[in-house]
């Protein structure tokens, strides 16, 4: 399993690897789950109180279903770790961060300087998400 390269949380990371969504329903003590692109993030909503880590897998960077999965979990009030794993590239991480990811475990480690630039590239954003940033329209009419 790839190392977590970036983590924007202070709590202790969950050491267990995520179980599949199917297994998760049966393992009532599991606190970590792994979502594949075809999984329905809403299947996890009844269990959010016991989940501490959701790994969202990006087998190929062009498959963008994980972005919706992340937002759905955050919109439902999930506050545990949301970790992007797999084909996570430097030019995707800012979008992922905005969709609620707060940990990144890329298959191939990113250049730290490039990643820092990517996270901080855009001072303002047009859309509100659950990342807490005020959208431009809110600033215009604040």
């Amino acid at each position: 399993m790839a190392e977590v390269q970036f983590r924007f949380r202070d709590d202790e990371p969950v050491a267990d690897p995520g179980v599949t969504v199917d297994a998760f329903g049966e393992q009532t003590n599991a606190a970590a789950v792994r979502l594949e692109p075809g999984d329905d993030a809403r299947d996890l909503l009844p269990h959010l109180d016991r989940i501490r880590l959701v790994e969202v897998n990006f087998p190929v960077f062009g498959d963008g279903r994980g972005y919706s999965s992340a937002r759905i979990l955050r919109e439902a009030g999930y506050t545990g770790e949301l970790r992007a794993v797999g084909d996570v590239l430097v030019d995707q991480i800012a979008f992922m961060r905005r969709c609620g990811f707060d940990a990144f475990a890329p298959d191939v480690a990113l250049d730290p300087a490039d990643a820092e630039a990517a996270f901080g590239r855009y001072a303002d954003v047009y859309q509100p998400t659950t990342d807490g940033r005020a959208p431009i329209w809110a600033k215009r009419h604040g």
């Binding site: 963008g64 279903r65 972005y67 919706s68 250049d111 998400t129 600033k139 215009r140 009419h141």
Partner: protein
């Protein structure tokens, strides 16, 4: 028209630096072409048949004089002296160097322009009615709504890696001049019985290899929920659109396979959820944007007559100018379809001439049309003859709007690496063949695509031509009866294809048959609809 504030400007400036960095990493070998390709595409940079091609966004087709002038300067400074206006109201340059691309984007940013999301599997540049703000039949000016969508869709974090590209159009009149129902989402701004403004959503239209006309999934979304509804449409698509087959990945396939009712049900459920998330911009933001689209300072009492004594001028007025909502004014279409020319191409000098005319005679405003022409939306009738003389002196006065010579054509195999056959030579031969007979034939929208992707809108042509590869040689299929607009229909293939000269002959047989059989006042399309395919087929194949 819309003007950037510091937020909008910071966004495009940051984008220039981001792309400069991406190009640097590619040239230094830090990223592979496979990794770079989606990044450059999201900035409109393709690798085409001969070189890199840069597609610049013209949001809802509206340009200022300064922006148009910059487009002309870029053609001369970085390209080979010309640009190509596209069927999505954009402009593309055919001979761009990768190492120049960041500087071009910086030049564009200096006039509030960009190439953001002009390609890639993301929400593309939103298109609109080229006569917005001038048309007598519009409920409201659709452009403020399109600008709201532009901002919402720019770098949308959830929808930048969709199953496939995503095109939206916004109109606000029953006369659809933007082929709205042939888009992934078409929005018609409407007024309900209570006088309130809302958005009708048409989802799942498109051309390409599986042409479909979008069904209406919600006839009235309150205007202060339009963005939320669009977000719901996109989320259902992003989650459930097919990703196993590139050719079945557009939203039209999802809507078709789920069925309109089931897709709508899922959208409504997602919409109900998203309404709780407070993602909709306030109406104050729409009002702020609307302020930029207020009517220009029309001269009250401007003379409402034209001196038609010059017959060439009178013909051009009759063919290329449209009534304006303001007395004494007229909307002008500059045809980029000279006989024997390349549809949609303009030289740097011609682009600057049109920019100067806009500044002088049209409140500094131009539009790009999806038919690859340029509109000067607000011209005083008193200035029209002087304007026409400048156009005439610069090869821009072809009087053929919506006639057989006003051909939509994609770049085809002369430029495009996806094409199977050349489109432009066919357009050139047809416009030459019918020179002098355009008036007699009347309105006839002829559209040519060089491959099944249908950038030349062949499905929507009264006469459509599709180039295919038949065992290594170019071959052309003929379609009849397509139409965009309120009565959208898809063209039907007549039968076996033709070679390059054969297709021109076939078009002539079809138009000859029309002329012999038309009834009073019928256009080509009307005669076709009345008689059907069989007699046309007989005339064409004999």
């Amino acid at each position: 028209m819309y003007q950037y504030d510091t937020y909008d400007q910071a966004m495009v400036d940051a984008r220039v630096e981001e792309f400069r960095d991406q190009v640097r990493r590619r040239l230094a070998g830090h990223i592979t072409e496979d990794q770079f390709k989606p990044l450059r595409l999201m900035n409109g940079l393709y690798l085409q048949l001969h070189a890199y091609m840069l597609r610049v966004a013209v949001p809802y087709g509206t340009l200022s004089g300064a922006q148009m002038r910059m487009l002309g300067d870029i053609a001369d400074k970085y390209d080979r002296g010309y640009g190509h206006f596209t069927t999505r109201q954009n402009i593309q340059y055919n001979w761009i160097k990768l190492e120049d691309a960041p500087d071009i984007l910086a030049d564009l940013a200096s006039v509030e322009m960009h190439a953001i999301q002009t390609s890639g599997n993301c929400i593309r540049n939103t298109t609109s009615d080229q006569y917005a703000g001038a048309a007598a039949d519009e409920v409201v000016d659709p452009r403020p709504y399109a600008e709201l969508i532009r901002q919402w869709s720019t770098f949308h974090p959830e929808f930048s890696f969709l199953p496939r590209k995503f095109k939206m159009a916004v109109i606000a009149s029953d006369t659809d001049r933007a082929a709205m129902r042939l888009h992934d989402i078409g929005i018609q701004i409407v007024r309900n019985a209570a006088g309130e403004i809302g958005a009708a959503f048409y989802v799942g239209g498109g051309m390409g290899r599986t042409p479909m006309i979008a069904p209406c999934i919600n006839a009235f979304v309150p205007i202060d929920q339009m963005i939320t509804y669009a977000e719901a449409c996109l989320r259902v698509y992003n989650r459930h659109g097919r990703r196993d087959n590139k050719y079945k990945a557009r939203i039209k396939i999802l809507v078709h396979e789920l069925g309109k009712d089931e897709y709508t049900r899922q959208v409504e459920a997602e919409f109900a959820h998203l309404l709780t998330q407070n993602i909709e911009p306030p109406l104050a933001e729409l009002e702020r944007i609307k302020g930029f689209f207020a009517d220009p300072a029309f001269e009250v009492g401007a003379p409402d007559v034209l001196d038609r004594s010059d017959p060439d001028f009178a013909l051009w007025v009759d063919n290329n100018c449209l009534p304006h909502k303001q007395p004494g004014y007229i909307a002008v279409t500059i045809s980029l379809k000279p006989v024997g020319g390349i549809p949609g191409d303009a030289t740097g000098e011609q682009i600057r001439v049109m920019a100067d005319l806009a500044t002088r005679y049209s409140f500094d405003e131009l539009r790009v049309t999806h038919a690859q022409n340029i509109v000067l939306p607000h011209v005083r009738k008193a200035d029209l003859y002087a304007l026409w003389q400048v156009l005439d002196a610069n090869g821009l006065s072809t009087p053929n709007l919506d006639q057989i010579g006003d051909i939509i054509a994609c770049p085809g195999l002369d430029y495009c690496s996806l094409a199977n056959a050349r489109s432009i030579p066919i357009a050139q031969k047809i416009s030459q063949r019918f020179q002098g007979r355009e008036q007699e034939i009347g309105e006839l929208k002829l559209k040519i695509s060089g491959c099944i992707n249908a950038c030349g809108h062949h499905h929507a042509g009264h006469i459509g031509i599709l180039g295919v590869d038949r065992k290594g040689t170019e071959n052309y299929q003929l379609l009849l009866g397509g139409c965009e607009g309120a009565d959208t229909s898809l063209g039907q293939i007549t039968g076996p294809g033709f070679d390059e000269d054969g297709i021109v002959d076939a078009v002539q047989r079809a138009t000859d048959f029309y002329l012999s059989n038309k009834q009073d006042g019928e256009r080509f399309l009307d005669t076709y609809r009345r008689l059907g395919m069989a007699p046309f087929k007989e005339a064409i194949y004999g």
